[in-house]
Symmetry: C2
Subunit: 250 residues, 2 copies
DNA sequence: CCATGTTGCTAACGCTGATAGCATCTTCAT
DNA sequence: ATGAAGATGCTATCAGCGTTAGCAACATGG
């Protein structure tokens, strides 16, 4: 038989080109712009040709996910497996969050339970998380079963990204991901410093809650008071942080 | 002018029928089964007739979301606003989780950042959460700003549901939602009992992590040991709970 | 040099969401 | 009662989608 070896180099190149065109379309124009015809045109071919390289549109999207994710982690300085497993987990968290925010449409695909469950890219990401949690368990810093830790981290991460993506960019609370990370870590790890007793913060927050009812103040006074209380409760709830000079958070 | 009053009752009834047919289709056969033609056939009409009642397919889906959610909360005993704001929040959490698991396809639609952000049903749900958190703030039990608390709860809830939905039903860890709730509450509320010092659990989890390497044990022995350690670490990490006699929890 | 497999094209199918335009029915003012 | 106006629902149709069939051109190993 004529066994034309298909690792012809050219085959891989055009295949990669298709994937990259699809990825660009997905990134710049969203999910609905990724049609077989649009991808084919961007890659300089006719739509049916795509099916010479991918069984499905699904398979194409899987390849896109894999490619984009690989490109992203390659761009990051890959500080895999430093001496400190907890630092590694933290780095992985930041990568995950950053990836989700930078690739909203793709993240939506990977997150969709019907599609994402069998996506190889998503599975690979989960495997990385599993390994990192395992290393933490091995050094005796985990106080919940590994599986529970993995699920909590995974759920918290995807939830944080989705919540951020659901908020218009100019209103996003970029500290949410950090807060979520600390929240989960406090439940999962041993030896995390416990939160200080917090009556001051609680009082500030409680008073802030009733501020709108303080009709004896003018609107301007109330607005100023509200802003002070916001800063107070926010600052007190994050001990050890100095107030940021650029208070741009609208 | 002829001002045909369109609160004709019949109009609302056929409209409601369309919504219910679409909801049933969505629930029983998933997102892709909800086509204008399928909905129309189920409702006993032709596809274009739907557009006499809904501007878009999007608008139809919004109506479906609203209807299903309203039906769901109506089915629950509506214990709104008991004396205890924290109990109310807890009840709302359970409702949210239960709704997500019972209506996977719809939850997927509401969760999609591109669609869900402007969905009235999703906005209404968020408003309920906002009000409940506000009441907790007012009684001085919140130790983070209201907005932060809302975002954490929302992100944790959607993340937990998505994670559960991404797992095949027979492998689901149904306690994940509870664990996530406690995790978030420990970071958000004052006066939550701090976790006990946890060296025993950590030791059990750490030993569990190296169990696969214990080659001096037989496979059967290792399996048994693993199961004991799973039960030990799981039980120790949830203080105050007796081991469950039946592993099945509703 | 031919047989075989690869690559890419045109044409087409069945499906989707959506629109146009025409009948029919309801309703109300006259 | 009757006719104008709006509501309702239909058929026919559109452009777009993922996907398949079938054919031509090309590469390549025996």
């Amino acid at each position: 038989m004529a066994e034309v070896r298909s690792d012809n180099a050219s085959r891989h190149k055009t295949r990669a080109n298709i994937v990259e065109c699809a990825a660009q379309l997905l990134r710049e124009q969203g999910t609905s712009a990724v049609t077989t015809r649009a991808v084919a045109q961007a890659a300089g071919m006719q739509a049916p040709t795509i099916y010479r390289f991918f069984e499905d549109k699904d398979a194409l999207l899987d390849a896109v996910a894999e490619h984009v994710f690989a490109t992203y982690v390659a761009g990051k300085t890959l500080v895999e497996d430093s001496g400190d497993p907890i630092a590694d987990l933290r780095a992985g968290w930041d990568t995950h969050i950053g990836f989700g925010l930078a690739n909203a449409a793709l993240f939506g695909l990977l997150t969709d339970p019907s599609r994402g469950a069998r996506s190889p890219a998503a599975a690979a990401g989960l495997e990385v998380l599993r390994a990192r949690v395992h290393r933490i368990a091995a050094i005796g810093r985990l106080r919940v079963p590994e599986r529970r830790a993995i699920e909590l981290i995974h759920a918290a991460g995807t939830g944080a990204v989705i919540t951020l993506l659901s908020t218009p960019p100019e209103h996003r609370d970029l500290d949410l991901a950090d807060a979520m990370y600390e929240t989960v870590m406090r439940s999962i790890l041993t030896d995390v410093p416990t939160l200080p007793s917090d009556s001051a913060t609680a009082a500030a927050v409680a008073f802030r809650a009733v501020t709108p009812k303080l009709t004896m103040l003018t609107d301007a006074e109330r607005a100023l008071l509200s802003e002070w209380l916001d800063r107070a409760s926010d600052g007190l709830s994050r001990p050890g942080l100095r107030p940021r000079s650029d208070a741009v958070q609208d």
